[in-house]
């Protein structure tokens, strides 16, 4: 039982970067832009967040930096695909290669110039990232551990997901935004400023992905910089969007389930199931593939995929 609670708590932690990535991508896909650059934007956020945290010792500044840097990288994508109508798949992929490359490049550059050959976040910032202890609540048995024992990232992630869910489904702006993803020409005719909202959503989505990246570089490896620290989580996020049926609230559940898959190997007692480590590492990708297949088999039952996902909008060609 105790182990099971520990497992659940760890699953939430492991799912948190996925949550940011997934919510960010949903925001972008809702305006019809399939951004395959999530992995790259997260890498850029990871690098910016870590480096700013390393030098300023401020957790808040690190978060802001991660958001802004990743949002700027999303701006490249937005400019190319919205204004210049470049192919979304290729642009997104290039953004991924760019982001990972730039992040690793800067990481190595800083490592080469650090006094002892490693980069480790200073103690104060690690302390402020540690699990928040809320008096009374955090001390409750079971519930305290399950609900009130996390790093600020977790609460921020859930809050962002709920907020974005509210934005998309409960505000007029959000409904307008969804109309763009469904039928940009109709949205345009109805007076919605298509390009403007596309930019806003893509850039905002990118920034949210960046915070997920900061989790990867600042928390996962105990505050020590390593190359490739996002390690495919961005790609899982892209796939999780389908699992979450383009709903930010559903992304919360989805990312924690996938978080559980990621850490299963540490918690599965060998006496019950003894599988090779590689199998567990493969599991999130395998399940994602299965989700993809299942969602396409049941596609006729009206999954919420934006009707114009992946198509650029050229005003004079409707």
């Amino acid at each position: 039982m105790d182990l099971f609670i520990k497992f659940l708590v760890a699953a939430v932690g492991a799912g948190t970067p996925l949550l940011f990535g997934t919510v960010g991508e949903i925001i972008s896909e809702k305006v019809g832009h399939l951004n395959l650059g999530v992995e790259g934007m997260m890498s850029i956020g990871a690098c910016a967040g870590f480096m700013v945290g390393y030098f300023t010792d401020s957790f808040l500044l690190a978060l802001v930096a991660a958001f802004v840097a990743a949002a700027l990288s999303a701006l490249i994508y937005a400019f190319l695909t919205v204004t210049l109508m470049a192919n979304q798949n290729v642009t997104g992929l290039t953004l991924t290669i760019f982001g990972i490359g730039l992040s690793n490049f800067i990481g190595v550059y800083m490592l080469e110039r650090s006094p002892n050959g490693t980069l480790k976040l200073p103690e104060r910032i690690t302390a402020s990232m540690r699990s928040i202890h809320i008096p009374v609540l955090s001390d409750l048995p079971v519930i305290g551990e399950l609900l009130f024992s996390y790093t600020p990232f977790v609460y921020l992630g859930v809050a962002v997901a709920l907020l974005m869910g509210f934005y998309l489904f409960r505000t007029k702006t959000g409904l307008n935004v969804q109309a763009i993803g469904e039928n940009p020409a109709a949205a345009d005719a109805a007076g919605i400023e298509v390009s403007r909202w596309k930019y806003i959503n893509i850039v905002l989505g990118g920034g949210i992905c960046g915070i997920g990246g900061a989790y990867c570089s600042m928390i996962i490896n105990g505050g020590v910089w390593i190359s490739d620290n996002v390690g495919g989580l961005g790609w899982i996020s892209v796939a999780l969007v389908i699992f979450a049926a383009w709903k930010p609230q559903m992304a919360i559940l989805g990312s924690f389930v996938f978080g559980a898959l990621r850490i299963l190997k540490y918690y599965m007692p060998k006496s019950i199931v003894d599988l090779p480590v590689a199998f567990y590492d493969m599991l999130p990708f395998l399940i994602t593939a299965l989700v993809l297949i299942l969602s396409s088999v049941h596609a006729s039952r009206g999954v919420n995929i934006p009707a114009n996902l992946g198509n650029n909008y050229f005003r004079e060609e409707r």
């Binding site: 290039t94 490359g101 790609w235 090779p276 590689a278 993809l292 297949i293």
Partner: protein, 365 residues
């Protein structure tokens, strides 16, 4: 909100209009400009981190060509890149988003490695032939999986091929940690070095893979330009509805082409494992499958251009390793520069087909 009322009546400051496609010479010029802009952007970045861009670019060039050995190393880098770029081109021509070259390279390498590890005593020519075929079958089948789901249920191939990359990667890790672990490695998980008999031969000091790569370029060029299959691929790529009206079996074409696309990538994996690495590691693809997509797109899916672009990218790749050793800058700068080049070229494509019109004074149309 005061602009709300004026919005519909006033034209935006910049308006996009479609133009007739520019003549080829002008298109080439635009692309060249994009390349120059990309190099300038890269140069500004180098300047910002405190280095001399001319010195760095110069080192990249001289690093790739400074000696016979350097040139051979450059060609060695080019082999898997060229082959897998040709592989993804087959799928892209059909507008099938095969992002799974990485996985198909690995799958081909795994299948070839089986024979290299367990049948190394076979006659050399026979063994190499079997390994080559194994690479084709491995990569081809790995590419066929997403195609099957695509034609049956319309499963999104972009994400599916991508997931298969990671699955293939962990299969290698599994083999490395378990069944194929080198018993002589003192507990360190790695796969044994292949027997000399299983290694590819060399020609002019570089593994024979470069001949395979160039032959494949010619073959793919011929296949796409001059065969019925190639014609079918381009029709499906233009519009699968048109293809269907013309009586083509679209499903069959998609399956066949994806098998071939994966198979070509599988050859890249076989050649890399048995010709360059002489063992199987989880870095056998090492991002080449993704770079191949950039190369194919930059070359506008033209096999001849692919040969040139993949060579230039290899120069960048090899040269940046020299930059790493002499300036302490990571080889990742090659990836960054490649991506920046593609950003600019993607951007410039717009000006081939479209143009901006500035709003006339007074806002009247």
């Amino acid at each position: 909100m005061s602009t709300q009322t004026g919005y519909m009546s006033r034209e935006p400051l910049l308006r996009v209009v479609k133009r007739a496609e520019k003549p080829t010479r002008q298109i080439m010029l635009l692309r060249a400009e994009a390349l120059v802009f990309a190099l300038v952007a890269g140069g500004v970045f180098i300047l910002l981190i405190g280095y001399n861009p001319f010195e760095i670019y110069g080192t990249i060039l001289s690093g790739a060509f400074r000696s016979k050995m350097a040139i051979q190393a450059t060609v060695k880098v080019m082999i898997p890149l060229l082959i897998s770029s040709l592989g993804v081109t087959l799928a892209f021509k059909m507008k099938f988003w095969n992002i799974g070259a990485e996985g198909q390279i690995i799958a081909g390498a795994i299948c070839a490695s089986y024979f290299a590890l367990y049948h190394s005593s076979w006659n050399h020519v026979l063994l190499v032939t079997v390994m080559f075929l194994a690479g084709i079958v491995g990569g081809g089948l790995w590419g066929l999986i997403p195609a099957l789901f695509r034609v049956k249920w319309g499963t999104n191939e972009t994400l599916f091929t991508l997931m298969l990359n990671y699955i293939a990667l962990h299969v290698v890790n599994f083999l490395r940690d378990g069944p194929w672990k080198d018993p002589g490695s003192q507990g360190f998980p790695k796969i044994a070095r292949f027997d000399k008999n299983a290694a590819l031969d060399k020609l002019l000091g570089v593994q024979i893979g470069w001949v395979v790569a160039l032959a494949l370029a010619a073959l793919v060029l011929f296949y796409l330009r001059s065969t019925k299959h190639g014609y079918e691929i381009s029709v499906v790529g233009e519009s699968s509805d048109t293809a269907r009206y013309a009586g083509m079996d679209v499903k069959k074409i998609v399956l066949r082409t994806m098998f071939l696309s994966g198979a070509v990538c599988g050859i890249a994996g076989m050649v890399q494992a048995t010709g360059s690495d002489i063992t199987l590691t989880n870095a056998v693809a090492g991002g080449v499958g993704f770079t191949a997509i950039i190369v194919a797109w930059l070359s506008r899916l033209n096999p001849v251009t692919i040969v040139i672009v993949s060579f230039l990218f290899s120069v960048l790749e090899k040269g940046s390793s020299v930059v790493q050793s002499s300036f302490g800058l990571s080889t990742d700068c090659a990836d960054v520069l490649q991506a920046v080049i593609l950003f600019f070229v993607l951007g410039c494509e717009f000006f081939i087909r479209y143009g901006f019109v500035v709003r006339k004074k007074g806002g009247a149309a």
